[in-house]
Structures are given as structure tokens and as C-alpha cells.
Symmetry: C2
Subunit: 138 residues, 2 copies
């Protein structure tokens, strides 16, 4: 629509014992492990102020997602009719940005240890945000 | 790190009475108005299953954000020391993806009327997701 640059520059990467989408739980509350968020040097000072015990939102680039999928079977109702991906949290969607709410367990320089994270090892991190309790939990 | 394509393809656009960042409230619970989410033809079937009364998450591309900012003054403490953007919800951040939780008031084809939305008119929409109450509100 104009000259806006829509290119994501990853700010870091997920380090996790999960190595394939197949073994990853579908959601964080289904047995997802701890993970490290490794933030790149160029943007590391953006972490200042994040502390152990904080709840944060992590946006990722779900690089194994399929971007050409618009309908999926709702979870646990495979026999049901297809529904639109925007009514779900499927990793398959036109812009494969994942949203994860995690707790900060440890801050080690530009690395954050968090729980629980269902994204696989090597997943690029797009953004980290504070939780706004009055809005995000309304 | 590999051949991943990190380009966002907007799925739609915000239509709002807010026309400048200056008049937009900083957060949705500070007087933000209703808005329409206009989803483009090519991905409109991804909306199937979204109904009036649903709570949804809208990801936007905050095209007025500054991508070279890593530290900001915390809100209402301008005199305080700077903190990292990843500890805030500032629209200025390396990847200017906004996150908005809204209620669906009306579904009209590929347009959704929602409240409350603090993003300005013309803001590109990156994604729409279902709210997962057990995780997003933990």
C-alpha cells in the first residue's frame, strides 16, 4: 500500500531440547519444557528491565509453518468441518508469527531462561513484550 | 541463518476514527474506540469460525514505529531512567508488531467490528488469533 518495509529482523533465537515440530506439544501447558531465549548483540540492551519472575510475551517466527493454509481441523475434532486459521492458534497461517506467554526463571546477560515454551530449537524470535494485566487478561 | 523468508504479507487493514498516533490512546483501556478489521479477499476464508462475542488477538504492523529505538522512558515516569523496549509495550521496537486483545462486536463478511482498538486508521494487520484462556490469562 506504500513504501513500508515489512521485513522481520529476528532479534534472537530459541534454544530448546525440542528439536522437531512433531515432538513439540501443541500448547505450552501440555508438557512444554524450559527454554533459553538468546537475544542477539545488536538489540541486547532492549532487555534492560526484565527480571526474574516477570511474565513476558514472546513472538516467534514459526519457520516450519505452512503459509498457504487458510483452513484447519479444529483440535480434538478431526472429524469436524474445517475452520479458518484466524479462529485458531495453528502454526500454519499466512504470517507464521507465534505468540507465547512465559515466565522468566533466570536472566544471564542477553539470555533469558523461561518456562514453558512449546517452540522448537532454532525458532527465530521476533519480539519480546511486557504483559499488561489489565488488557491481556481482561 | 538460512533461506527463511521473513517478509510479512499484511492480511488486512484497520479502519478507525483514529488518524494519528498523537490522538491514539496508549492502550486499549484508555478510551480507545471501536474499529473495523478489513481482511483482504485472498485470505478471507481464514476468518471462518470467528463469531460475535469472541475475544481475539490482533497482531498489527505499527508502521509509524521507530525500529532503531532500544530504550524508552517508562510510562508516567519520564524522569526515571530508560528501560529496554522488550520490557515495555512501546510501539518503537526493532520489529514493530503490535498486539491487541479485542472483542468481536459484528461479523460482516470479511469485516469484523471490534472494541477497543488503539491502532490508527490504515494500520496493516499481520494476524488474527484465538485467545487461549488457560495460557494467555495464566
Amino acid at each position: 500500500m506504500n513504501e513500508t518495509d515489512y521485513t522481520i529482523e529476528p532479534i534472537g533465537v530459541i534454544r530448546s531440547p525440542l528439536t522437531s515440530r512433531k515432538e513439540a506439544p501443541r500448547q505450552a501447558d501440555e508438557g512444554a519444557p524450559e527454554a533459553w531465549l538468546e537475544v542477539f548483540d545488536a538489540v541486547a540492551e532492549g532487555l534492560d528491565g526484565i527480571e526474574v519472575g516477570d511474565e513476558i510475551l514472546v513472538l516467534t517466527w514459526l519457520h516450519h509453518g505452512r503459509r498457504d493454509v487458510l483452513k484447519v481441523h479444529p483440535r480434538s475434532r478431526v472429524e469436524a468441518s474445517l475452520i479458518g486459521v484466524f479462529a485458531t492458534r495453528s502454526p500454519d497461517r499466512p504470517n507464521p508469527v507465534g505468540l507465547h506467554r512465559v515466565s522468566v526463571l533466570e536472566v544471564a546477560g542477553q539470555r533469558l531462561r523461561v518456562a514453558a515454551m512449546e517452540a522448537v530449537d532454532g525458532t527465530p524470535i521476533v519480539d519480546i513484550k511486557a504483559v499488561l494485566r489489565n488488557i491481556d487478561e481482561r
